[in-house]
């Protein structure tokens, strides 16, 4: 039971962290290296005409972040649905010598 929980915990944390990092940081670096606009919205001139659009659709990047949040939400539901694991913290005595 504990092993299964550990695996689920690791997958949930790893996958959500990967999705957050990919959506925000990795694709943010790609967008920056691709040149203007350095943000994730179209760049317009004073006349309001679009002069540059993001290389990566922000819908994809926000979608990755939302997917990461969904992973965490599913993990939370899993934790609610499964029996609580007893506190397993053990104290290992250390001698002074």
């Amino acid at each position: 039971m504990t092993d299964t929980n550990d695996i689920v915990d690791r997958i949930a944390m790893g996958l959500s962290a990967a999705l957050f990092t990919l959506g925000i940081v990795v694709l943010g670096i790609v967008e920056t290296l691709a040149g203007k606009p350095f943000g994730a919205a179209p760049l317009t001139n004073d006349a309001g005409e679009v002069i540059a659009t993001p290389m990566i659709d922000p819908t994809i990047r926000t979608g990755l972040v939302i997917a990461g949040l969904l992973v965490l939400a599913l993990w939370g539901l899993y934790k609610v649905a499964t029996p609580l694991v007893e506190e397993t913290t053990t104290q290992r005595e250390m001698t002074a010598d």
Partner: protein, 174 residues
């Protein structure tokens, strides 16, 4: 002297949540985040009562987002809930965070709101990390760390017999 053997992440650099400064700061973060939402909700109630008609209209224009057709569908079909729900739930989420009661449940509601605001406002001119995402992160931080336990009512609620007999209630407290 003893060390924690069960937690491989526990090192001498681990964040120690029982230290006074950490507890103090988590409480500050929780209360200020709560005030932010309480103020947003209560001022809507003062101005328009429980009839925030901009709410459904806002969601109806959320086309082409990562949430697909969900917000538009909600705007078209759940106006009866959104119009009173936005000011009411913003106020209640804020009050819960300020008091530190049902903190995780309230923070989850805050995350839900902030996802919609982040995607709906789409203020991405300076990148995806904007104030809406920062608000989302604040609610996630309060949720993950169970910030209601620090100078909040959840510290008392979690010691009640009801919670001791139903420990899973801690998933919505804390």
């Amino acid at each position: 002297m003893s060390t924690q053997a069960a937690n491989p992440l526990a090192t001498e650099f681990e964040l120690e949540l029982d230290k006074p400064l950490t507890a103090y700061w988590l409480a500050i973060v929780r209360v200020l985040t709560g005030w932010w939402f309480f103020h947003a909700g209560i001022t809507k109630i003062i101005e328009n009562g429980l009839n925030f008609s901009y709410g459904p209209a806002y969601m109806q224009q959320m086309t082409g987002t990562a949430l697909g057709p969900i917000p538009v569908w909600m705007g078209n079909n759940l106006g009866w809930l959104i119009a009173p729900g936005v000011p009411l739930f913003e106020t209640l989420i804020g009050l819960a965070l300020i008091a530190g009661a049902l903190t995780r449940l309230a923070a989850l509601g805050g995350v839900f709101f902030m996802v919609l605001f982040w995607v709906g406002n789409a203020g991405f001119g300076h990148g995806l990390v904007n104030s809406d995402l920062m608000g989302l992160m604040l609610f996630m931080t309060v949720l993950v760390l169970g910030a209601g336990r620090y100078y909040g009512l959840d510290a008392i609620i979690e010691k009640t017999k009801l919670v001791e007999q139903n420990p899973k209630l801690r998933y919505i407290l804390g």
